[in-house]
Symmetry: C2
Subunit: 323 residues, 2 copies
């Protein structure tokens, strides 16, 4: 099943959000305009808007209001990607040159700042103070997650807790906030809001773990960027943490990371092969499945409707996605 099929009934609403995104990033400044549009046109799953819309279906579905929240969250996600590419020195994303590659780090930093500010502008239409608090809290945690990722780079001896805390901040919170904010602006009852928040959190954790697995198992073509990029950048993800339990792999990676200059795409290939042929991928997949299971369980607290079915199908898709 294709992801888009799981929420086919939202097609019209999502296309309105796509239009809103395009209007929103328009800048009366050539470079910002081009850079933002390039980012937007590179596509993406628009998962955060999907979660906002689906969560809102459990309350009063007012598209005008929801549209602002949905596009705001997608913009925050986009802005964080632009800054992310500066940090990871990435030249490709989704098979297209990144802003920092097509222009430079400075333009990428300012494009990110600009899109952040545009996200906030979209959000000013929302009156609930609690929604604003959740949004700013999410942005704060997102940044802390990013800096923790820098701090933990090339650190072979970090624990699982570090990793889980980092992906919670970096990925899961923005997804759980998408669900929660969708619920809040639709005035769902308290119980539904909590269930949706939890679903989003567990989905976000599972999603990021699968992402970290795919970085090893998917092809460069599928990824739209070089395979093994995370490890080349020194990012120790869950499959690596499991693989490091093997003292030989531990020693080999420690040696390689002892001099960052030698961490090239070629030098890392043998280690990547070893990680793939170990049981690390399988173990990481099990952790992802555990979170996915919790996501399903969270859904049980919600009334049955089309949106709930979609949320279940998205979970099925994420659990089995190949890209």
């Amino acid at each position: 099943m294709k992801l888009a099929k799981t929420y086919a009934f939202l097609k019209k609403d999502l296309s309105l959000i796509e239009d809103a995104l395009e209007v929103s990033v328009y800048a009366d400044q050539e470079i910002l305009n081009e850079a933002s549009l390039q980012l937007l046109k590179a596509g993406g799953k628009r998962l955060r808007p999907v979660f906002v819309l689906l969560a809102s279906k459990f309350g009063d579905y007012n598209l005008e209001k929801i549209k602002n929240v949905a596009s705001s969250l997608e913009l925050i996600h986009m802005a964080s990607l632009v800054h992310d590419d500066v940090i990871d020195n990435s030249d490709l994303r989704r098979g297209k040159p990144t802003v920092k590659a097509k222009w430079d780090n400075q333009v990428a930093m300012l494009t990110g700042d600009y899109i952040f500010a545009k996200a906030l502008q979209q959000f000013t239409e929302i009156e609930e103070p609690r929604a604003h608090q959740i949004l700013s809290h999410t942005m704060i945690e997102l940044t802390i997650g990013e800096i923790e990722q820098i701090k933990d780079k090339y650190k072979v001896d970090q624990n699982f807790r570090n990793y889980l805390k980092r992906i919670k901040r970096k990925t899961a919170l923005l997804i759980s906030s998408s669900c929660q904010l969708g619920a809040i602006v639709a005035n769902t009852d308290n119980k539904s809001e909590k269930a949706l928040f939890r679903y989003g959190y567990y989905m976000g954790m599972s999603y990021q773990i699968i992402d970290d697995i795919l970085d090893f198992t998917a092809s460069e073509k599928e990824l739209g960027k070089p395979a093994g990029s995370d490890l080349i950048n020194g990012n120790i993800t869950l499959p690596v943490l499991y693989a490091l339990e093997d003292p030989l792999i531990h020693k080999e990676l420690t040696n390689l990371f002892s001099n960052k200059k030698q961490v090239t795409s070629d030098a890392i290939k043998p280690i990547i092969s070893k990680i793939i042929s170990s049981n690390a991928i399988e173990k990481a997949k099990k952790v992802s499945d555990m979170y996915l299971q919790k996501a399903y369980e969270s859904l049980q607290l919600l009334p049955n409707n089309q949106a709930k079915e979609s949320l279940e199908n998205i979970a099925n898709y994420i659990g089995n996605r190949k890209i």
Copy 2:
């Protein structure tokens, strides 16, 4: 007269804002915490909070509410400075090492992101949707101003309008917004709000022009960074635009800028001397004075009180400031 003397009666309130800033930037993350504190402790005039407080004095002065606006605006200013230092590759600010110098560009980018997010968190306490709109609009314009500055770097043939538009976005709007937001949260009447906005705008323009003059006329010790930094970075400011009217200076600078690699501190010294000994500084000062005059005029529409006196005194100070 010292600047702080012009608003001595705000001393207690400003010290509460200083405390709020310190609490606000606290991060449960070592690097962000150190970088943010370093930035905060480097000091600064805290002009934006001063303007917020003074503008609020024309309405219902509720310090709890105003404090959030004041610290939020100072945080946005601080965040923009950190990103600014990345763009200008500055190692010193206010005589202290910048975040990008003490850590690196990546940490500086994320520290800026973090402080932006913290600024928003402070602002969530404010309920007026109009205040949120003004804030996000200001942030958008600020970013456009920054990218315009990059675009216009080393461009010898730019016009005065370019420069004025750029400093409006880069500096004046944040100051006019400080005044306006102070007025809005204090529920001043419409006429006062407009007058305060205008005062802030004209003051901001004048302030930035003086800043651009001081980059040539003040000593390295006074500036806390190398003199002539703007021109070394390729930033064409108002004194330079006037100096470029001399065909000899125009030719010399065009030659120098034809190869950015040759734009060193030493190579630029003779041009700086020529700019200083031309009448460019004087002409730029006159433009600043014109804005200052408009700032005074805007104040005439406000009722007489201690705050108005302070705003006048700040204008006097800015007009004659040596640093």
